[in-house]
Amino acid sequence: MAADTTAPGLPLAESDPDRPPASLQIRAWLARRTESVAIPLGAVAAGFLIFSLFLVALGKSPLAFLDLVWRGGFGSPFALQNSLQRAAPLLFAALCVALPARLGLVVIGGEGAIVLGGVAAAAAAQPLQGLSPLLAVPLMALAAVAAGAAWIGAVGALRAYRGVNETIASLLMSYIALALSNHLIEGWLRDPASLNKPSTAPIGEAFMVGALPGLDVHWGLGIGVLACLAAYALTERTTIGFAARIAGGNLRAAQIQGLPVGRLVVSFTALGGACAALAGFFEVAAVHGNANASLNAGFGYTGILVAFLARHNPLAILPVAFLLGGIEASSGLIQRRMQLPDATVLVLEGLLFLVVLVSETLYGRFKPFSPHLWAEKRRAVS
């Protein structure tokens, strides 16, 4: 499938023979930026509106609901940190989908890479005991990254050199990774002292990654944001990213042009797997202190959703993950204050995403936002 991130009308402005004056170009750029914010925001509003009907049908107040979403997810420092904390693993999980998507690949097996990365980090911590955390913690992260990159990179290699469909392969590999991780956690790597919650040996207090300065949110958020920025730079500002986009648009053409498609595929899938594994690393090093079955928390699947909503744009992953984190953070208040079941936010999320995705069809249809419509008008006038 195509990673359709190019805003409609963008190439047109550049190839237009009678190029409009600079002021108009800036206005056109502004208009397109406004459009890319206004349409999703409008869609979110519309989604809430439809959801309100659902609530009214249940005899619940939509205003009270909105108020709780605000208070639970966004309206206070505690709520904001709650949302940011929940967003952190989603950033990594979404990159595992978004990076391969640049090449037109649909990878849905991030969950396995997350868990495997966590197990690798916890296992690596054992021989490193006694070392300086400054050295050991990066090495643990490296172990996680290596495991994740190898796992999803293998999916890419199968695709590139063997023609194996990456969607099904990544899903199968994910299940295999979960089985392997469980086997290790409850077998070879099990700490005999972990009784009713089978876990690997603890990585130790010294190797724990703390919170961001002044925040009650662990470093996974900081590194996650950096990873998204780096991924943006890679895909939008480098020749490799450009080559990947060409290969994603038309594989055959890219091959004819002599692009190293196989290597691109392996690199981007491996990078995606590395990102997913970092989510697992932070779960171990910043939260659990060991690897256990709780690593399999479903971040990988939520990440797929985040990536598709962000249209595989690494920068757009940031707000989408934050929005999702906020909605999930408010779930508790909604359960407690409105006596609605936990599934309520699933319905809301599903509905919101449907509307946001449908709204993509509206791009380029509103005149104030659409320079190509202005151009038509100018031509009509002249």
């Binding site: 050199y161 099904i168 392969a169 199968l172 409850e186 699933l346 999320e349 995403f353 995705l357």
Partner: protein
């Protein structure tokens, strides 16, 4: 227990497991085959499966008739499929993404509406005891075949035939291979795809009814645990061939029975790895049957995911 009987037990379990567990995979993958043959992907069938399971169970509890449950599940599935088909006709709307959103929406709605139905018991779908000739209870159990399994098998055969030999089958294939050619021939591409996706939804909903009304025969939020997603993936494995879907579903169901069966005959170490057997086996077969040159054999030309 002697080794001899152990092996028989495992073999019987695999056969029985193939028959018991495969039906939801079969229905979902047949449904998805129809959808994908028309050129669209509906990744949301996991949500449809779960909603089908819930609505079938709820209907059976309320009416006392499991068949009414199957009907309602089919209708609900058709509605979800129709929604997907309708939305995806708009330009720039990504069918894969819509499927993922529908997966969430369908499961969420099923969990939400299904809360009151976790406790009550629903009447199960009937099964035919094909094992009547045997004295062994294991054989009798393995060969208790649900009507939906037979219907699914017949449907696989019919679809395989229909895609080649009927006008409707041809239209779906033309639309899936080249929208342009189909338009030139005067077919309404969006309408064909809408109908194909809706039909796929109906089948996925019925697959869900099998889950909640026959095997495991219960409604709870973990009833599917990703079977719908796996079934969609199996379509690619089966290369859009309905008969191969049947084979893939049997293989997957049979391999899934391996883990418990091995433990029951005393092979109890490393059961996580045995439980991964269906995935390992599918992956191995997938790698063995793929090749870089003919990666896309059988794939509909319009498909965004190959």
């Amino acid at each position: 227990m002697s080794d001899d009987l152990g092996l028989t037990t495992v073999l019987l379990a695999v056969i029985g497991g193939a028959i018991r567990v495969s039906t939801p995979f079969l229905f979902v993958s047949l449904g998805e085959t129809i959808t994908e043959r028309s050129g669209r992907i509906n990744l949301g069938l996991e949500g449809t499966l779960v909603f089908g399971a819930m609505s079938a169970y709820a209907t059976a509890v309320m009416t006392g008739s499991p068949w009414a449950g199957v009907a309602v599940a089919g209708l609900a599935g058709g509605a979800f499929g129709g929604l997907h088909g309708f939305i995806c006709r708009f330009p720039r709307v990504n069918d894969v993404a819509i499927g993922i959103a529908l997966m969430l929406f369908g499961s969420g709605l099923a969990f939400f509406l299904g809360k009151p139905f976790i406790q009550p018991s629903a009447p199960p779908l009937p099964a035919i005891p094909f094992g009547f000739w045997s004295d062994l209870p294991q054989v009798q159990a393995a060969l208790r075949v649900n009507v939906l399994f037979l219907a699914g098998a017949a449907l696989a055969l019919f679809l395989w035939w229909a895609f080649r030999n009927t006008k409707a089958g041809l239209i779906v294939r033309v639309v899936g291979d080249s929208a342009e050619a189909a338009r030139a021939m005067g077919y309404d591409v969006d309408r064909v795809r809408l109908l194909a996706t809706a039909t796929g939804g109906v089948l996925a909903g019925i697959g869900g009814a099998y889950l909640s009304l026959y095997y495991p025969g219960s409604w709870n939020e973990g009833i599917s645990s990703g079977q719908g997603l796996m079934a969609v993936a199996l379509v690619i494995f089966a290369r859009w061939n309905p008969l191969a879907c049947f084979g893939a579903a049997l293989l997957f169901g049979g391999a899934g029975a391996l883990g418990p069966a091995l433990q029951s005959v005393g092979i109890s170490q490393g059961y996580y790895l045995f439980y991964a057997a269906p995935y390992v086996l599918t992956l191995a077969l997938l790698i063995a049957t793929s090749s870089p040159d003919r990666a896309l054999t059988g794939a509909p030309g319009e498909l965004s995911l190959k």
